[in-house]
């Protein structure tokens, strides 16, 4: 890795989308494919300039489908690869996200969420891709999705995203939004010795003994093209050799492993932030840009004597329900606020053992702190 051309450790004033690019390059990403879409365009623009400087590859594809498929092709060649998009492009990528899960070829997909549905409001904020990120492709598989709420996290979470994608061989999404992607804030780039990068686990057995989908591992070692392992990968349900099968016992093994590798490691992957939750009677759950408005609302509500805290999921998937469940043991209730008409709230209701309130908020704007305070008072008194 030509570290000389990477961003120097230090303090920067940076746009979220630019921080995303620099974080990805530090994470070892050397292939980017994408298609123009607002509000993610700063990412591909900076990538087109920066990738050649670090000896990496940039291609603007003919569409989002080609982009994400090419990302998988690059991963098959052993190169850390990513794409970036927004709602409509993210929708187009869904089938290939399933392919990434099925071939166990790692991919990082940055989604700068905007207002939907359909073309929606391309220039304004939304958080409507939370469910799509996990359930968008057909069939059973697991993914990981991060929820940055600042340019700093846009930088840091690219490193987490690549490490997780290559460690578990899954598609990993960074679900940012128009506000976080386009705001300019302080970004601290830590010294490189503090940044740990995960590299692929290589096969140690000779090619004739290698099983690309060996079920003795949750995450099998990964051979790449041209290494002599003569791997066959197919989107068809396959056995441990990678050969198609219709046998139920064999397909069960595969599907269970695809979900178990995340489900059994959810506590290692899942993350959240707690703020003033110790004595809280009401815990506001908010993520991404919404968490920042909620934080201000909690400060204001506290000044009026209301015991309110903030639970901010940092991973949407796996959803860190065990963290929130611990906080509600004392009987605290939860108020979910997100910029959609109800997505993560369903998961909260399913997994958290307390009364769950919800404040829907149509995309195109961030709910202002005073609106959140009003809602806090409405449910707090009950």
């Amino acid at each position: 890795m030509s570290e000389g051309k990477l961003i120097k450790p230090g303090v920067y004033f940076m746009r979220g989308n630019d921080a995303c690019v620099e974080g990805a390059l530090v994470a070892g990403c050397r292939f980017f494919a994408g298609y123009p879409i607002t509000p993610s365009n700063e990412i591909s623009a900076r990538m087109s300039r920066r990738m050649p400087e670090v000896g990496g590859y940039f291609i603007q594809f003919e569409d989002e489908i080609g982009s994400i498929v090419a990302v998988l092709g690059a991963a098959a060649g052993g190169v850390k690869a990513m794409t970036a998009t927004s709602g409509p492009g993210f929708s187009l990528m869904m089938e290939t996200i399933g392919l990434s899960a099925m071939l166990e070829l790692p991919a990082v997909i940055v989604d700068i969420q905007r207002a939907g549905p359909s073309t929606g409001i391309p220039t304004l904020v939304g958080q409507g891709d939370i469910m799509q990120a996990k359930w968008g492709s057909h069939g059973d598989y697991e993914v990981v999705a991060y929820l940055p709420n600042s340019p700093q996290e846009m930088f840091d979470m690219m490193i987490d995203a690549f490490n997780t994608a290559w460690k578990y061989r899954v598609p990993v999404m960074v679900l940012s939004d128009q506000m976080v992607g386009q705001m300019i804030e302080k970004v601290v780039v830590r010294p490189y010795e503090e940044i740990k990068l995960f590299e692929r686990v290589k096969p140690t057995v000779p090619p004739e003994e290698y099983l690309p989908f060996d079920s003795k591992y949750l995450v099998p070692p990964m051979a790449i093209a041209g290494e002599g392992y003569r791997v066959h990968m197919t989107g068809l349900t396959h056995d441990e050799r990678g050969y198609p099968t219709t046998r139920h016992d064999v397909s069960t093994k595969l599907i269970e492993r695809l979900v178990k590798k995340i489900r059994e490691n959810e506590k290692e992957i899942g993350r959240w932030e707690e703020h003033l939750c110790e004595d809280a009677k009401l815990i506001v759950l908010a993520y991404g840009i919404t968490s920042r408005s909620a934080k201000r609302a909690i400060k204001d509500a506290r000044s009026e004597g209301l015991k309110v805290g903030l639970f901010r999921p940092i991973t949407a998937w796996p959803f860190p329900h065990w963290g929130l469940n611990k906080l509600v043991e004392s009987g605290a209730e939860v108020l979910v606020i997100e910029i959609n008409m109800g997505q993560m709230v369903h998961v909260v209701r399913e997994t958290v053992n307390t009364k769950v309130h919800f404040m829907p908020w149509a995309p195109g704007a961030v709910p202002p702190p005073e609106t959140i305070v009003k809602k806090i008072k409405e449910v707090y008194s009950k």
């Binding site: 590859y57 092709g73 392919l99 003569r230 990968m233 989107g235 068809l236």
Partner: protein, 281 residues
């Protein structure tokens, strides 16, 4: 029939070594031409002088899409219409690999049509073996983007009225560096064309008109008739006017075959390496 010579036996054994025999029998119908096309590819791999481990095959969905699963080299069987962008991603980051897309007419020119035209525009350094059997055989014989006018298929019971792609013409007009068309009857020419494609820096395509028993049956003939037709109707003309090379139901119109185009524009991957040298200094 004369006995096989020792050199032929060695060759057959070498070809067999490159097939995943444990996966046989393959799914292709008796009378289908895809197996011959696959044999030509495998022979070309063996004759290429490029180490076998540096060859990669990428397929999409459909009958031809199953090819990647039968060859004992690195093979990727991806989603419908997407083998080209997968191959482009792989070839871009691993230029030392010889990446070949092996897929069908529907996969590459209907659902994957946009990637097809843009890969030719970029001049991606990949080889494409496009098996054209005029229909979606895997799903029961629906019409495709190459079905000739008038042909009967599962979804054109009254005869096909849409119009079809003339693949060599399209690829040549778009600027492909190598364009050829052969049939399974011309297996030696096809193998040679594939070998030539390995040498091309840039987009190289061979359309292989391939008999399909389903399509033949729906149109009142057999694949044996089809092979006889290849013998009787084919004209090898490397300098043919490709605008007239469209395939029709007219039994009197010749089928034009040949290695039509050989250009040497640098590929996208070569241009990118130049860009890298310039930027990195």
């Amino acid at each position: 029939m004369s006995e096989s010579t020792p050199s032929q036996i060695t060759r057959i054994q070498e070809v067999k070594k490159l097939l995943r025999e444990e996966r046989l029998p393959h799914i292709w119908c008796p009378g289908c031409g895809i197996g011959i096309v696959l044999k030509c590819y495998v022979e070309a791999v063996l004759k290429s002088g490029i180490p076998v481990d540096k060859h990669v095959i990428v397929s999409g969905i459909g009958c031809s899409g199953r090819a990647a699963g039968y060859v004992r080299i690195d093979g990727y069987h991806v989603t419908h219409g997407r083998p080209i962008p997968f191959a482009v991603g792989l070839k871009t980051v691993r230029p030392e690999l010889e990446v070949t897309v092996f897929s069908g007419d529907g996969d590459l020119t209907a659902i994957g049509g946009n990637h097809f035209i843009h890969a030719i525009r970029r001049n991606d350094d990949i080889n494409v073996i496009l098996v054209n059997n005029f229909n979606y055989g895997m799903t029961g014989g629906q019409y495709s983007s190459t079905t000739p006018l008038g042909a009967r298929t599962l979804t054109s019971p009254y005869g096909f009225i849409e119009g079809s792609f003339n693949i060599p013409y399209m690829a040549a007009v778009l600027g492909a560096n190598f364009v050829a068309r052969w049939t399974p009857l011309h297996d030696r020419e096809l193998t040679k064309a594939i070998l030539e494609m390995f040498k091309v820096d840039g987009f190289a395509i061979v359309e292989v008109i391939t008999p399909c028993i389903l399509y033949a049956e729906m149109n009142g003939f057999t694949t044996l008739d089809w092979m006889k037709d290849f013998r009787d109707r084919c004209i090898i003309d490397h300098d043919a006017d490709l605008s007239k090379a469209n395939l029709t139901m007219d039994p009197n119109k010749p089928i034009i075959l040949g290695n039509f185009v050989r250009r040497d524009k640098p590929s996208y991957q070569t241009r990118y390496r130049e860009l890298l040298r310039k930027v990195k200094g």
